[in-house]
């Protein structure tokens, strides 16, 4: 066994978890909404980036900042997909689908839209993603017999969040 662990010297292992850290039964579309808002914010910031001059230092600063914004946009678009997918696959039951027949189509659209906003710098597409995730959140809370409210997020995006009333 110890001899086999020499493998680790050539291929340093990563930690893999055999159970997730979130307790069963706790689902909340809030993080998906936050992630969608972050994608919108990053896209706004990318659009607002300006190249101060053609000097090398300014170009380096521009590329550096663009790279950072793009990285965060990519991560949060993927997070939208992950959060929605887990709630869709794990939480929703057949009886929920009876009342919300458009759920599968909505999730499909969210997956496609999240990919689209990663591939493009498109504010309108980001707004649509935010709206789709809001619809998803509304359906989620309705399945728990909770009324929802639209609340100002307080984020620079000036968008709203769907929260249980």
């Amino acid at each position: 066994m110890k001899l086999l662990r020499l493998i680790d010297k050539f291929f340093p292992p990563q930690i893999a978890y055999a159970h997730c850290d979130i307790p069963c039964g706790i689902y909340d579309p809030h993080e998906a909404q936050m992630a969608a808002q972050t994608v919108l914010r990053m896209t706004n910031m990318i659009n607002d980036l300006e190249l101060a001059s053609d000097k090398v230092e300014d170009r380096k600063r521009f590329v550096h900042q663009l790279s950072r914004l793009q990285k965060v946009k990519e991560e949060h678009a993927e997070l939208v997909k992950q959060q929605v997918r887990v709630i869709w696959g794990d939480y929703f039951k057949p009886e929920h689908l009876e009342k919300h027949k458009d759920l599968h189509e909505l999730v499909f659209k969210i997956m496609k839209q999240a990919s689209f906003v990663r591939q493009n710098v498109d504010i309108k597409a980001c707004d649509e993603l935010v709206k789709m995730v809001q619809d998803f959140a509304r359906i989620f809370w309705e399945t728990k017999d909770r009324k929802v409210q639209k609340v100002k997020s307080g984020y620079p995006t000036e968008s709203e969040l769907i929260l249980p009333a």
């Binding site: 662990r5 292992p13 893999a16 055999a18 069963c24």
Partner: protein, 75 residues
């Protein structure tokens, strides 16, 4: 994944062969890697579960593209 895999176990994965039901796989979800057993494969998604029903929690269907590899041995 007890009793097959315990905390502290190391596994070696292989990603050249096709994944089949009952294989143990490592996949990535966000920044975290998970070790789970394949229950069912549907098109581009894999349903996974932990062996230990007491300790395991569901992580939802997994995209095949997020699979790092199939566990070939433990050391």
């Amino acid at each position: 994944m007890e009793p097959a895999y315990l905390e502290g176990d190391h596994v070696l994965t292989f990603n050249w062969s096709k994944i089949r039901e009952h294989d143990v796989i490592v996949f990535r979800s966000g920044r975290i890697y998970f070790l789970k057993r394949v229950i069912k494969i549907d098109d581009s998604f894999i349903n996974v579960e932990g062996d230990s029903k007491k300790l395991s929690s569901k992580v939802g269907p997994v995209e095949i593209s997020s699979v790092v590899g199939r566990v070939i041995f433990k050391y």
